[in-house]
Point group: C2
């Protein structure tokens, strides 16, 4: 899907990108809006939605979703990783690496192209805190 016109480089989208650079973890729409307004006070909700969609389209962000957490966005290009959700502080983390052998995971006949892994438990700071 190629774009016919060049993407304009707006203050708002830069702010949104910076929000993700500042918080290296998956963020919800509301968080992007809240943090983004610290950078551009006028930032509007529609603009956030529109730019999140654009950034996903451009492959800069990835959309993830969870039954209890709703929709989250995270930066791409950090290699394959898993997600860990802390049941205590309710934050989602990214864990490097992959402990899954795709060829072992599906019965014969299924062609596995890709996978997502979501872990649940308690994160280090909640364990020690």
């Amino acid at each position: 899907m190629r774009r016919k016109t060049k993407r304009r480089n707006t203050t708002q989208r830069n702010a949104i990108e910076n929000v993700f650079r500042q918080h290296e973890r998956p963020l919800g729409v509301d968080e992007v809006l809240r943090y983004g307004r610290r950078l551009v006070a006028s930032l509007n909700q529609s603009t956030v939605y529109r730019n999140l969609k654009i950034l996903v389209e451009d492959g800069w962000l990835k959309r993830i979703s969870h039954a209890s957490l709703g929709v989250l966005y995270e930066r791409t290009g950090k290699g394959h990783h898993h997600h860990f959700h802390c049941r205590q502080c309710n934050r989602t983390f990214e864990l490097p690496g992959c402990a899954l052998k795709e060829e072992d995971v599906a019965p014969d006949g299924f062609i596995v192209e890709d996978h997502d892994i979501f872990l649940f438990g308690i994160c280090p700071s909640c364990v020690s805190g």
Copy 2:
């Protein structure tokens, strides 16, 4: 969370349960409503929402969610399994067994209690079809 009063055994909830017994795969709210109406024509959307919530509370159903697939409900008590989504026919399957070693998957300090695995690819009937 214990219930103070007994749950009544209604035609509508029975119908909803039967929908899941008839289709042994994760279903969306719309599918539950559509198939449920074949069993109880008057079945209402609110009733579906209310009963899905009840059945999750009672542990009879589990809620799963995915960025592109939205919210799905599936029966519990079938042992741990993974999900496979076919990119061609768009159906979601349950795959038996587990190919993940939880202790290998997270760095020190993270306590992993549970996990979900979602696979993507092509299912056998789409491969051969």
